[in-house]
Amino acid sequence: MAADLGYVALLLAFVLSIFAALAAWWGEHRRTIELVLSARNAVLAVAGLLTLAIALELYLLLSSDFRVMYVAQVTNRAMPAFFKLTALWGGQAGSLLFWSWLMSLFAAVAVISSWQRTRILIPKVIVVTQLTLAFFLSLISGIWAPLASPLKVLGITAAAELMAEMERLTPFYQLVFTPVDGSGLNPLLRHWGMIIHPPLLYLGFVGFVIPFAFAVAALSTCQADDLWIRVIRRWTLVAWLFLSMGLLVGMWWAYGVLGWGGYWGWDPVENAALMPWLTGTAFLHSVIIQERRGMFKVWNMVLVMITYSLVIFGTFLTRSGVVSSVHAFAQSGVGPLFLGFVATTFVASVILLFARLDSLRSENALDSLVSREAIFLLNNLLFLAIFFVTFWGTIFPVVSELLAGEKAIVGPPFFNQVNGPLFGLLVLTMGIAPLMPWRRASSGKLARLVLWPILAGLATTLGLLVVPTLRQFVILPGTSLRIVPVTAFYGLLAFTLVVIGQEFWRGIRTRRRVTREPYLTALVNLVQHNRRRYGGYLVHLGVVMIALGVVGTNFFKVETQRNLAQDESFTITSPLTGIYTVTYVGLSTFLIAEDVQRTAATLRITREGELISLLQPAQDFFILQEQAMTIPAMRHSLAEDLYIILAGWEDGGATATFKAFVEPLVNWLWLGGLVFIFGTVVAMWPTQVEERRAAVAASASGHAVVTRS
């Protein structure tokens, strides 16, 4: 019953989203406000219907109605209610429904909130968002299944089978029988990180559809001035914030749960989330130039379009398994349909862009190569380069299988070698950019600003190279070759840090000169009255901290594997804090849940004979799924993590094998992530000044719209 109702809601939502797109298009074409109003109401109705569908799906999951295939695939009776609910995004059909629901809500909010300010753009925004939504809904509402029989008649049996399969992709698809129990959720996913990671990522993905919709609307209505840029500014930041949080939480989960001592594996699914983040970040920067100087309008459009395509492509990558093999791609109809949709929308938007090139002339020229604009261009090039390297590495296995007939794996070494230096250069532009004035820099002024940062950078690099007590931190046996780039990079981080600090200091000093308020008040007021600027600096501060952690773990990680008998020990030497001695005390096995058996080893960690910690790395065995999961044990500190996993044991624990890692500076990565998110929120929060300006601008542009039409 509930499943039938849910399916009807889904179908209705699909039909209404198509209607909304057509009505908005036709209404704008014929200048019929009633049609546009009707389209707007349809957008709201779609959001309502999908909310109903989500509620029904949650009800089915919670009541363990295993006749619904999706419920049987992702849950079982033993699962706690909370996990049953979050299983909504644990499988393909459910996560596509979840994606669609978020999309419908974003579209509704975007249409309603911009209705007054930018009515001229609304019809095309409706067209773009609803067509995107209709595509996703078509995948999960069984629309393609009836195509199977005509395809079969035409003799295209392979395609016919794929289409017939699509019927089963509905999250409300009902089996002809009711299984006794479901298969349950993969144990690896039963972790809060994996529970909030997909929604965060999807919020980010869906959020980037809105800027794209406004960009297309602006282009096609020839309103490609700064109106759309103002409207989407906050949308872009919100989408970017969620995507950043999704990436960070994903890394945190991988580090804490997967048990291999790393947090980023350049896995296709990770890359799928990173790529739109890279192009989105490039857009966030270059859009500032359009706002300030009226330049790079075409380029900004291109970035928004690429980001949109990557969002769809990313959803497709994470949901189709195409990158593991060409064969996986052909096993489900979802792959070809997604690829077709990405290609169509990308080509269509590029054609639209070319048709409207005239309306995108730059208002200004580049005055000098030593200017903020030039640095921003370099920043964009680097982001795009990293994106392209990641894209190429991700699709290379498929490309080589198709073109050379032989599969190849492109693993982390490739990405680290190529993207590592590019990221380093990116940090360099990040450090220099705030020093560069708009238009052109005069050498005297630049020299004054650059003095302290350069001194700090040189002091750090030289200190690490020359002072013996510091030098021991960066010299490890066998790593002497890397010492020069690494110390140079630490110098660069110090340089950037001082640049950021200097920016805050200059602002505070200026405020104090005028208001004579205390330092702390001056700081708070400074940030409060220019949140975008100082929020941006806080984000950069977060990036510096993250970079510290990334360099620490990539260059100075120590790893060892040992097999120990009871009361035996081994040592592992940290580059920062000295020698850890790890002693194996014993092994115990016990139940931690009805279907989960834990085997935990107890380890005594000492440093210079002094007990500093007891660690219990473990393996959990999920009896129903017959799946083991490694639970690493960690000792955290600001300097490093000692990270130990239990790799195996023999004779009931008489001997056991351990892998131990020293992860230098890794916690700076997580702390930097928090600073990064805090900075983004600061930048996003509306200021009074900004709102007043926006209101003035809106009334002015509203006036312009009236006179133009």
């Binding site: 200004n364 261009l377 190849a408 004035p437 220019n530």
Partner: protein, 162 residues
């Protein structure tokens, strides 16, 4: 079926090989788990995706690590061991494709793309700066703009105090 028979083959053939010509040379040096992992990290798990042989918990990878240990004990170099696995199981067991033939494009294409990007950027910058010296620029000279930052802070203070 293929995997099954290969597994059986491995179980039978490898020990046989080790017995025949592995043993006499095997006393050279006992490799530590760390030595084995250093090589294993450069190989991809043949049955799962996105994980290297050192980190992979499956039985297959445990056997591969044991094999790496044997080969190391025989005095084989890292490169020889990687070639050994690539020759038997295909190039896709390597973490990075071998540098020959079509596989070279994994490195060449990004390098070309970055060069093209740099070239385009250089050309555009050149054109734009020329356009600006040709008079398209706006009238204010650089030094006024430089203190714009301070001016804006002061201006905002003004707004705020009202």
């Amino acid at each position: 079926m293929g995997r099954m028979s290969r597994a059986i083959l491995r179980c039978l053939v490898f020990p046989a090989l080790v017995l025949i010509w592995g043993v006499p040379r095997a006393f050279a040096q006992e490799p530590s788990p760390d030595d084995i992992n250093r090589v294993a990290r450069q190989l991809s798990c043949p049955t799962c995706t996105g994980i290297n042989v050192a980190d992979c918990p499956t039985e297959t990878c445990a056997q591969w690590r044991a094999k790496i240990g044997e080969l190391l004990a025989e005095g084989k170099t890292e490169q020889e061991i990687l070639e050994y696995f690539a020759a038997r199981y295909g190039d896709h067991v390597l973490q990075v494709p071998p540098t020959r033939g079509f596989f070279l494009s994994v490195w060449v294409v990004p390098a070309l793309a970055i060069l093209v990007g740099l070239g385009t950027l250089g050309y555009l910058m050149h054109r734009w700066t020329k356009a600006s010296t040709a008079g398209k620029t706006s009238p204010t000279p650089g030094d006024v703009v430089e203190d714009e930052y301070i001016r804006r802070v002061e201006q905002e203070l003004g707004i705020w105090r009202k």
